[in-house]
Structure formats: C-alpha cells, structure tokens
Amino acid sequence: MKKLLKLVFFRLRKEKAPWIELSIAIAFGLIYGAVYAYIASLSSGSDSVVNIRSTILGTFSPSYNIPTALAVAGSVAFFHTEINYGTLRNQITSGYSRKQIFISYWIGVLALSFMIMLGFTAANLLVSAWFIPVGFTASNVGPFFMSIGFGVLQTVAIITLAYFLTHLMKSPAWPILIVILLGASSVIADMLAQMIFFGVSPNATADDLNTFFSILVFLPNSQSAAITSGSYGIFTDGLFFANLTANPTGADYTANYVFAILLENLVVLAGSFFGGFFYFDRHDLK
C-alpha cells in the first residue's frame, strides 16, 4: 500500500489541477481576509465578532464555504480522473486489492482537501493579521482547538461523502452538486431554525434552546453555529454574522452540541467510508 500512496502523492505533485485549486483557495483566502478586515473596521471592541479566531473557525465550520466547496470539487475531480483515464484498472491488475486502492485514494483526497483548506487559512491569516483583532483569550484557546478538531472531523466527513458519491456516479458534476445542495439546504435549515427558535430576539428561553439542541443533530450547518455559540456566546455561520446571546439561562449545553456534532459527523463519515469501501470492493469498475 506504501507504493499506492507513493503513486497518489506523485500524481498530486505532477498534476496541474491540485495546484490550480490551491491557487484559487489562496486567492479566496486573500479576498476573505480583506473582507473580514473591512467588516472588522465597521465594528469595534475586543469582543468583535470578526477576529482571527472566528476567521480560522470560519474555514472549517460552516461546511459549505469556499474552501470546503473547492476541496470537494478538487477531491471529486482528482479521483474521477482515475476512473475516466482508466488508470484504476492498472492498479487492480498490478497486484493491489481494491481495499488498498480505496484507502490510498481516500488518504489522497483528504490530503488534497487539507492542502486547500490550509492554503485558504494561511492566505486569510496573512491579510487579516494586519487588520483585525486576534480574538484569543486565555479562556477561549482550549475551546478554539476543540472547535477546530470538530471542524476537521466535519471536513473529513464531507470529503468522504463526496468520495463515496464519486464511486457511484458517472459524471463528477453530480457528487459536487449533491454535496453543495446538501450544504445549501442545511444553511437554509439552520437559518430557519434560528428564526423559529430565537426569532430576531437575542434572548432565547431555556425551552427554545432545549428544542434547538434536540434537533441539532439533523442540521449539519448548525453544528458550526453550536461550536461557536456554546462556548463564546456568539453565533456565526456561512452566510452572515449574527450576535446572539445563546445562553441566557446559564445552562451548560456543551454536552448536547458535542454529542450532536460527533454523532452526525461520525455517522456521515462511517457511512460514506464503509459504503464506498464495500461498493468499490464488490462492484464492477466502470
């Protein structure tokens, strides 16, 4: 399998497409940094919603922002090329099991995705570091890294879902479209949930919050909101910045959102991974 991985990374290095995707991610990172800086200039104070902490979280949190969409598109295109060129056949006829091939490319598309995400984050930081507050305090550093961990898990789950769908569909456009549509629908569901349970008022009741967290598991995009809201009292998501006091009663909902995030992402990750794994192993190659 080491040889397969070597081949996958040789391709990543030699093909133009991953470098083009990385360049686009960096370009968007620079644009985002500038936009964040502009938004930050409109607010004031150290508790500004827009700070470096929130921009980094933004890369990984709302699942369907630019770097995630790029990572999904790049991963799908990278693996689909193997199907399209017929080169997967070479690997099957060269003494490698389908399981080894599946795992090698899964690692390859994850590596490509994180290269894109990190390219975006690095470019974003480069610009935003000059203009916007860092936003870190002694108390939020720990939750920040926990949130990043959840964000990474979420990204792995999304990319694995896209990778799985690439095995099923002839055209690479479909997996990309499906994942992005799922994202868009979850953003809408998230916005509706916020409108229903919090309304325009920042003061939600304990009952509202209980209901919200009970349905959290079904709302992928709300996870990111929960990541940032639970510990920081701030709601952010992919489309806009809102400033909601999400915890007026002082109740600790950490366990609720951790459970929801873990459960949902692990279900998507395991379902996609094993679905793809067994499908690829048992199904005829296109």
Partner: protein, 305 residues
C-alpha cells in the same frame, strides 16, 4: 505445457443479459491466443473478468495455477493488461506515465532513467523520451505504444490486450504486430489478444478462441485452423449427386452437406471439364474459404461445411 490461465465455467450476467456464458478456456504458456468475436460477443467481458475489473457471476479462474482470491491479487503482478483503451495519465508526459507504472510495480532499477528510456525505445517512442509533450497530445498510435510500454514494466509473464490495434493506421498496426511477435518469440511472453480485425490476428495468433453471444464456440490451434479453413469450390450443377460421384472418381475431396463443395483442388480446368464431359450443366461455381473471416462467419452462422 503449463497453462498461464484456466477458466472454469466463467459466467457473467449484467441484469438480464448474459454477457459470458459458462466459458472454460485454457491459455498455454508461450502462446498467443487470439480471442475472436463480433462486437458485443463477450471478448471484453472475459478480459474484464480475468483482470478483476469485473467480478464473475459464477465460475472461477486461475492465474499461474492460483485460484484463491488473495493469491490471485498477488498473481496478477505477473500479468499486464490493456483493457479497451490504454490507461494513461493524459496530463502527464510519457516519462512520468512510465515512472508512475514503475512505482506501482515496485520496479526500482539501478538506473531508472535508462530503464524508462529502454522501454520507450522498445516501443518506438524514442522521440518523446525527453519531450514535455503530454500524453493527451499523443496520436492514437503513440498512446497505444505507450500503453504497451507501460504494460511491459516489471516484465510480465502474460500480456492481455483488448483490441490493441483499434484506430491505428496500417503502419501502426504492422508495428504493433511486430512488437508483439518480438515479445512472444524473444521474451516468451504469453499474449491474450482480442480483435475483430481477423486478418491481422491471423498473422499473430498461435491459437484461437471463437466467442459468440457470450459462449465459447471453439478453441483451435492456428495449425488446425489452417487445415479447417482450406479453400474450396462451391459448385451447383444440373445433378449434384452425379457430379459428386464423378469428382470422387477423379480423386477430388468432395463434401455434399449443405451443397456440393470440393477441397484440395489444384486444377480447376480439369474439374470443370470432368463435369461437362459427363453431360452435366454447370450452374454456378464459386471459390470460398481460406480466410479466417470466412471460417469465423461460417462457424458463427452454424453452416460450416
């Protein structure tokens, strides 16, 4: 002689369509087996099964005597296949494609550059050795040759080629043929080659497997095929029974099933004179056979005489 591949009642069904029906076939080591059949007959399906690109619905096969699933994965290191089209990274150069194949086959020669150069020389692609031209910009013939070069990395014992001359011009076809003959005769590589260009196949194959509608119709050596596909005269006279009797008396090899035909003739004039002298009217006379196509058509149509 040892068999490189043996299939046992190999069957493949796609939905309700039976693509391959109970095929049992042996491929002798050192042979060139020509897989002959119409488009959609099941040639590619058989190759896809042997290369694990598709799974059989039932039946089994062995490679170099190994038939257990884990052993088969390792045994496949001894085969190289070009199924349907050459599987190349089109956005890479010929050298990078060959390097990727070396990685895959765990081929680590002392001088990798020289090894790759040798493969490119061998298939007549010396002009792209140091070129930055991507495989997508290669002609079809160049891609086929590069596909063969990639297949040769790791020195396989069996080469499986599905329509390797598809889309090639006559010169390219000749080059590929000579290349394959060289591999078989000089390096002893067994070759399974499918094609529907039968005249081309007849210049290569030492054995033939005829396949139609998913069924293996016949396996025959080139030598036996030559005898079976001999030229013959198909004759219609005013009295075929009398004509057959006269021709037999004159020493001609005559068959009467499905019409009067004569094999092993050398003197057409003597044959015709013999019939007309006996008062028979010659209604038609047609020469047929001698070609693989004719044999194939007669075999498939079920009217082989």
């Amino acid at each position: 002689m040892e068999n490189v591949i043996e299939t046992h009642n190999l069957t493949k069904r796609y939905g309700t369509k039976l693509a391959l029906d109970d095929v049992s076939l042996n491929i002798r080591a050192g042979s060139i087996l020509g897989l002959v059949g119409k488009n959609g007959a099941g040639k590619t399906t058989l190759i896809r099964l042997l290369t694990d690109v598709a799974h059989p619905t039932s039946g089994s096969y062995s490679i170099l005597g190994i038939s257990d699933p884990i052993g088969l994965i390792k045994a496949r290191r001894n085969i190289a296949a070009m199924v349907e089209t050459p599987a190349l990274y089109l956005s890479m150069t010929a050298r990078d494609n060959l390097y990727s194949r070396c990685i895959l086959m765990d081929v680590v020669p002392e001088n990798l550059d020289q090894y790759i150069d040798d493969k490119l020389d061998f298939v007549g692609l010396a002009e792209v050795k140091h070129s930055k031209k991507k495989a997508k910009d290669f002609s079809l013939g160049m891609r086929q040759r590069l596909g063969i070069a990639m297949a040769l990395v790791g020195e396989p014992k069996l080469l499986i080629l599905d329509e390797p001359t598809n889309g090639l011009d006559p010169e390219g076809i000749k080059e590929v043929r000579e290349l394959l003959l060289g591999l078989n005769q000089k390096q002893g590589i067994t070759i399974l080659i499918s094609s529907h260009i039968l005249t081309e196949l007849s210049k290569l194959a030492t054995d033939y497997a005829f396949i139609d509608n998913g069924k293996l119709v016949q396996v025959i050596s080139a030598h036996d095929l030559e005898a079976a596909a001999k030229k013959r005269l198909e004759i219609t006279t005013s009295d075929d029974v009398k004509a057959a009797s006269i021709l037999k008396e004159k020493g001609f090899k005559v068959e009467t099933a499905g019409g009067l035909s004569v094999q092993g003739y050398s003197d057409n004039a003597a044959l015709i004179m013999g019939l007309t002298d006996a008062g028979l009217r010659l209604l038609s006379i047609r020469e047929s056979g001698g070609e693989l196509e004719d044999y194939f058509v007669s075999l498939i149509d079920g009217d082989k005489k």
